[in-house]
């Protein structure tokens, strides 16, 4: 993927020595917060208008291909035939909780979503942390040994992984390691979060969950790590031509120290940005992998919702995912300011 440039540092350069009313760091933080809030408002509006402005009868979306209780049908008609202004205000009162319950589960939407949050966090969180650690290391090593065998092999492998649909990789792993082909015994569980009947509150239960999540976490880690490694490598190679590295060498530093103390910290800046910017794809990965491995998290719930289609559930999940990514981007911006003094001073 071509590198999207990070935050526009040039626009934030300050005159040396000048101080505004607010400390520049705080000013930057507030502006990013405002931007995040703005984006979220946009998402909420988008969510509302999407279902009402597109061609077709919105009611049919809710009732497509199923028998609907006439009472509910009447409620729907009352809602959708009301003037749009009235509908909008009803929505705005609490955009997070749709007035209708989940169709598939016949329960309030958040009752369905609630218990599925932690499996997704566990799966995606673990994979992201592992992928960042290993991906960054691999990228640094590849860049410093640029053109040598290690780099050539690593770059080829990561490029192939980067071109791979993560769910396909997961399915291949499943078939090889869970079902067992070509004589390899299938030892991993075929799916699910835990063995039925096991209490996941206990230590043994947690180990069971870990065992079940091993393959899905591995799948996501490997796929994410490919991208992070490519980004870090490109970033560090960009940095390696920098003049200040020559200064560092001239001072008598060992090559390893030149890399560790000077090149890498600078190269990490665009890498951090890009890793966070691609969080949208992390969400996508969660959806497909939870589906393939039957992990009862938000991702597989989304697939269930789209099969319905269960509109209230789908809408809420969309809002939830968007909110999560917006928050993550905000964190990324603030983190970047922490790391790059040119932005905050």
């Amino acid at each position: 993927m071509s590198l999207i440039s990070g935050p526009d540092t040039a626009s934030r350069s300050s005159v040396p020595g000048r101080r505004g009313v607010l400390a520049p760091g705080v000013r930057y933080g507030l502006s990013r917060l405002l931007s995040a809030v703005g984006t979220f408002i946009f998402v909420i509006l988008f969510n509302f208008f999407l279902f009402r402005l597109l061609p077709g009868d919105p009611i049919s979306l809710y009732t497509r291909g199923r028998d609907v209780d006439p009472e509910i049908k009447r409620q729907l008609q009352a809602r959708f035939n009301a003037p749009i202004g009235e509908q909008f205000f009803a929505y705005i009162k609490n955009p997070f909780v749709p007035e209708l319950p989940s169709q598939r589960f016949s329960a309030p939407v958040w009752d369905v979503i609630g218990p599925r949050i932690w499996p997704t966090l566990l799966l995606v969180g673990t994979a992201t942390v592992l992928a960042t650690v290993f991906g960054v290391w691999l990228g640094i090593r590849s860049a410093w040994k640029r053109g040598q065998r290690f780099d050539k092999i690593a770059t080829t492998v990561t490029l192939v992984l980067y071109s791979m649909p993560e769910f396909w990789f997961g399915m291949i792993l499943l078939i090889v390691f869970s079902v067992g082909v070509f004589g390899i015994p299938g030892i991993f569980p075929v799916g699910g979060l835990s063995t039925p009947g096991v209490d996941i509150g206990t230590l043994a239960g947690m180990a069971d969950v870990a065992w079940h999540l091993a393959l899905p976490v591995f799948t996501l880690t490997v796929i994410y790590l490919a991208e992070y490694s490519l980004v870090m490598r490109a970033s560090l190679i960009d940095e390696m031509g920098a003049d200040y590295l020559r200064t560092a060498r001239a001072k008598g530093l060992r090559e390893a120290d030149v890399r560790r103390r000077h090149a890498v910290p600078n190269a990490l800046l665009p890498t951090t940005t890009l890793i966070f910017l691609n969080l949208g794809f992390v969400v996508g990965g969660a959806i497909t992998i939870e589906y393939v491995f039957s992990v009862a998290g938000l991702g597989s719930l989304t697939v269930l919702a789209l099969r319905g289609p269960d509109i209230p559930l789908l809408q809420t999940l969309f809002l939830l995912f968007s909110a999560a990514v917006i928050v993550a981007n905000l964190v990324a911006d603030l983190l970047y300011a922490r790391l790059d003094p040119r932005v905050r001073t």
Partner: protein, 298 residues
């Protein structure tokens, strides 16, 4: 008379630089490998009706056994309905490539237009477009695509629209940055001073200078489009009457190919996706290297 000769000079120069680009590309091994892979798949896709009769895709006309592993007759085995997997995969190339390319055209068109416009127009329009790009960039792709596909319904056209409409922001942002840098150049100020209108500036000056970057970005956009189509089809949002690599994978997964150990049914379509996406990635990277070389210390 003068303007005609100036224009022909400009076009001659542009043709030369495109020719140069082509020569440099020919010298890049990764680029050529990528191109070769793509050409192979394109040829296969076009030749599909000649290689395998369309009836081989019909579930009611299947001739093989259920989940037969690869044999001399069925090089890639059969699926759960006894169809020839190789036929499925070759035919699937047509839809996968078609959707990938069409969606990319759409997304590049929107992305380039919005990118140039947001970079060119200062003030309210530019600001609004800028915000729009940033907002769309933040929304995660798959949930948005799922929501849109659900609302629009399952058809080939809708999938193209969904992917096109969700992928344009990344391109727009890149083009916008490039537009801003081009706009800072003196000859654009001169054009403005000579009375060039906005559309003229954008199409005659900015666009040709932004084109090389657009080209490199397009190849990478195609790989994203193909991956997106595969994912959406795999989740069941594709056209149920069309055979694409994604729908094959969906069929395989839903009919229990994994527990049946039918690895050939899963491996083949996925491997094709990997190869084609890799091909475009290689070409895109080769183009990027030519247009924006990163020379580390030699």
């Amino acid at each position: 008379m003068t303007s005609v000769s100036t224009r022909s000079i400009v076009w001659a120069r542009r043709r030369r630089s495109w020719k140069q680009l082509g020569e440099q590309f020919r010298r890049s091994p990764t680029g050529m490998v990528g191109l070769a892979i793509f050409v192979t798949f394109a040829a296969l896709a076009l030749a599909a009706p000649l290689l395998f009769d369309a009836s081989q895709l019909d579930v009611t006309k299947a001739t093989g056994g259920v989940y037969e592993s690869p044999t001399a007759r069925y090089w890639l085995g059969t699926d759960d309905a006894g169809r020839n997997v190789l036929a499925l995969v070759v035919w699937g190339a047509r839809i996968s490539l078609l959707v990938g390319l069409c969606a990319t055209v759409l997304s590049m068109f929107i992305g380039t237009a919005v990118g140039i416009a947001s970079g060119h127009f200062r003030g309210l329009i530019g600001g609004v477009l800028d915000r729009l790009i940033d907002w769309f960039l933040v929304i995660p792709f798959l949930p948005l695509a799922i929501v849109l596909a659900t609302v629009l319904g399952k058809s080939l056209l809708n999938i193209i629209i969904v992917i096109g409409v969700t992928s344009w922001p990344a391109t727009a942002r890149l083009i916008r940055a490039q537009t801003l840098s081009v706009e800072g150049r003196p000859y654009l100020e001169r054009a403005k001073a000579l009375g060039a209108g906005d559309l003229h500036q954008m199409t005659r000056h900015v666009l040709p200078n932004v084109m090389p970057l657009v080209l490199a970005n397009t190849t990478l956009a195609v790989s994203i489009s193909i991956l997106s189509e595969t994912t959406l089809s795999f989740l069941g949002l594709g056209d149920p009457t069309a055979v694409s690599w994604g729908t094959i994978l969906d069929d395989a997964f839903s009919t229990g190919a994994i527990s049946a150990g039918a690895w050939w049914y899963l491996a083949a379509p996925g491997a094709c996706v990997v190869l084609v996406v890799l091909a475009f990635n290689l070409v895109g990277r080769a183009l990027e290297d030519i247009l924006d070389p990163r020379e580390g210390p030699q």
